[in-house]
């Protein structure tokens, strides 16, 4: 009864670990299908979403909100899945997308660079030097991406509950550790933590709907379905927020109470 996020680099065996953990625990496995669901729901070509979650946001995209809105959609899709509990997510930044939910076991899988180089050489049929430079470039991109969007370094071990280096430890060892950790009391969903998950999903969903209607620069919080939408000064009028929220409120019955706060600093917990 837990949510496990596995953050991984390319060729780090993270996918393999995730699949085996899901199989052992009988949990749902989520990765790219989250993206597909997101694009289905919001009619965005999947390829754009993949780029959004991979390439570091360029200056242009930051101005036009391009990548940020894709992230919103992905986050909403992941959160609505995680609401059902018993889930293994593997991919970048899952732990960041589900920030604030207590019963999430955050794992990072890293692998020895030489082993990754060898794996990439084999699969792509390229030289060692090429493979190494590709991998390093890929790592740098992912690092930049998390830093720009969340202001943290994915290599910072303190972001995770477990960091497992696949080198001397095998994939099966890693699976064993994760399954054990997932069974601990602290990762079991309680009514309170489950409620937090549902609130996160609701806030993400509302925000995604608003972003879809071209309302950017918003912060949304939810507590027991009591939703507060934060908007910069003047934004409420510019976005015709009241009318849009009235329509969305009818669409989202989970919303129990809705308030708009204009010109106030967004709280850190806001999505």
């Amino acid at each position: 009864m837990a949510i496990i996020t596995i953050s991984r680099g390319s060729y780090s065996k993270g996918r393999e670990v995730a699949e085996k953990v899901a199989q052992r625990l009988g949990y749902q496995l989520v990765s790219r299908d989250v993206l597909i669901e997101a694009s289905d729901r919001f009619h965005i070509p999947e390829v754009k979403l993949v780029r959004a979650i991979h390439d570091a946001p360029s200056i242009l995209d930051r101005i036009t909100h391009g990548k940020q809105c894709y992230i919103v959609y992905i986050r909403s899709a992941l959160a609505s899945r995680a609401k059902a509990d018993n889930l293994v997510y593997h991919g970048l930044a899952g732990h960041l997308l589900l920030k604030g939910v207590p019963h999430v076991l955050k794992v990072r899988i890293i692998a020895d660079l030489e082993a990754r180089v060898a794996a990439e050489m084999q699969r792509e049929d390229i030289s060692a030097a090429e493979a190494r430079s590709l991998l390093l470039k890929d790592d740098a991109e992912r690092r930049k991406w998390t830093q720009t969007l969340y202001g943290v370094d994915p290599w910072d071990a303190s972001l995770y509950d477990l960091v497992i280096h696949i080198h001397k430890l095998s994939v099966d060892d890693a699976v064993e550790f994760i399954v054990q950790a997932a069974g601990r009391q602290c990762f079991q969903a309680t009514p309170a933590s489950q409620r937090k998950m549902e609130d996160l999903a609701l806030a993400c969903q509302l925000k995604a709907e608003l972003v879809k209607q071209d309302c950017f620069e918003l912060g949304v919080t939810s507590e027991y379905g009591n939703v507060v939408v934060y908007v910069n000064k003047g934004g409420r009028h510019a976005y015709h927020l009241d009318a849009k929220l009235a329509a969305l409120r009818a669409k989202l019955p989970e919303i129990n109470h809705l308030e708009v706060r204009e010109g106030l600093p967004f709280p850190p917990a806001a999505v």
């Binding site: 309680t190 009514p191 507590e223 027991y224 009591n226 109470h257 308030e259 708009v260 204009e262 709280p267």
Partner: protein, 603 residues
Amino acid sequence: MPQLTTDMILVMAMIGIAIFLFIVEWVRVDVVAILMMVVLPLLHLVTPKEAFSGLSSNAVVSIIAVIIIGAGLDKTGIINRLVGPILRLAGKSQSRIVIFISLTVAGISSFMQNVGAAALFLPAVRRISKTLKIPISNLLMPIGFAAILGGTVTLVGSSPLILLNDLIAPFKLKPFGLFEVTPVGLALVASGITCFVLFGRLILPGSKGQEGEQAATEQAQEPNHLLAELGRPWELSTPEDFTHYREPVTVDNLRRRYLVNVVALTEPPDFKVLGPGPEQEVRSRVDLVVYGQEKDVLRMAQEEGMTLKPDLEVFKGELAEHASGTVEAVVAPRSHLVDKTLNQLDLAERFRITPLAVYRQGETYRADLGHLPLRVGDAILLHGTWRRLQLLHEEGGLLFTTPLDTEQMRPEKALFAGLWLAIALTMILVFNIQLSVCLMTGALGMIVTRVLTIDEAYQSVDWRTVFLLGGLIPLGIATEKTGTAAWIAHTVLGAIGTVEPIVLLAVIGLLSTVFTLVISNVGATVLLVPLVVEMARAAGADPRMAAMVVGLATSNSFILPTHQVNALYMGPGRYRSVDFMKAGSVVSVVFLVVMIAMLYLFF
């Protein structure tokens, strides 16, 4: 035409810095004033003696005395007693009520700080609105504007006018008498009130002609309905198995979950807790009283298996009207509560008072109240026993729009207060003694006759105003002494050519209005008076008249809710900035026209 000197450039640079800081508000306006007080002598633009002469000026001493006299009048409740007779005179028609109360407020405001007079009437206006079922938004704005306009009736009515004599002194002009501005001021008050009586329907929010009237009024009153609904107590009891197999339920849990506020509950075996803290647990088989919207209360009762009682039973006595209730408190201008959150104030732990909702700019906030930084004009709906509310009131910073009966008044001293005010006025009018001396006599008299204690007098003085005035006066001196004022005046007049005195006055009035909206009224006065005096001299107009236009027009602050009175009434009146723009622009234009016409006719 004078030559441009280095000193002049320095003074202009200082003026530029002052205006810039006034607008961006990196530091508070009074700190800007103190900065001027310190930097000007360092740059040798004024002598050290001149730099601090502002603090001993007629203006600063007068304003200290006016504040003390105002506090004395407030303390005796003399003003509250005026309300009854006025209402009897006014009857039940909205127009008559607006006229009578506005005139009274204007009258009081002409001898008190405007915001003080406005604050005094807030509870009374609220009560009138409730008993006569007139939307409060129809009353507060005219009354607030009247309080501002009342400041133009006498020379001690508002800070700019108090400053005027000190600012024209370096130019060797004859000082103004206390009532020299009165004809113009009265015309301004009259025209302001007339505006609302005649065009109130058009310019006040919530009344847009005949057609949409119904809907608009309903809309304007909706928040009031909500507040009324929030102000109803519900008594419930928890079931036998309430705490079984679950984490402890606290008062805070219920508030976060259902947006209902627990104001009283029983603790086994038979304790009654009023105003429980957020951490207080709600146990099985207890009775509790909550405030909240009906749908939320019903949802809680259903989901938690609580039994809703038709009426208060257990807490009938404790929550009876004579013992406790809900009040609306407004965050006062310059209150220490500004920018603090309700969590930081911790009213529940410190006073056993429960905040129910916050009202700001047309919005009622109920969710996540604890993290909301308070602003001037926010109206907070509070519940508690009258005694506790009284303690909170004494701490200051909040203006209660519902009067607390237990307020410590000294009505027996009303006679003395009135007497000393009369003595001060007689000294000014009959014996022609300097303003500051007369007013200080009145203030001292009130202290000696124990209308208020000397400590209360000290506490009532607003140091921010004192230093704002005292610090900006040297800037005025420097502008005059270095010839900067003369230089700018000549340059401007050289550019626009010769103009009719009346046109010049109109332009000065307009300029002052713009300045007072952007920077503070005192700042505008200090910067403009030396300038316009020189301009008037060069253009052959009366320099005293020009100075008077500045002193009056800096009170023409209606378009934005930047004036303290407007900021104060914004929350209780449920106004938005747009409402001020609509009504304010009409009143502002009328103000300028009437002022210029009066000056033209009388002088």
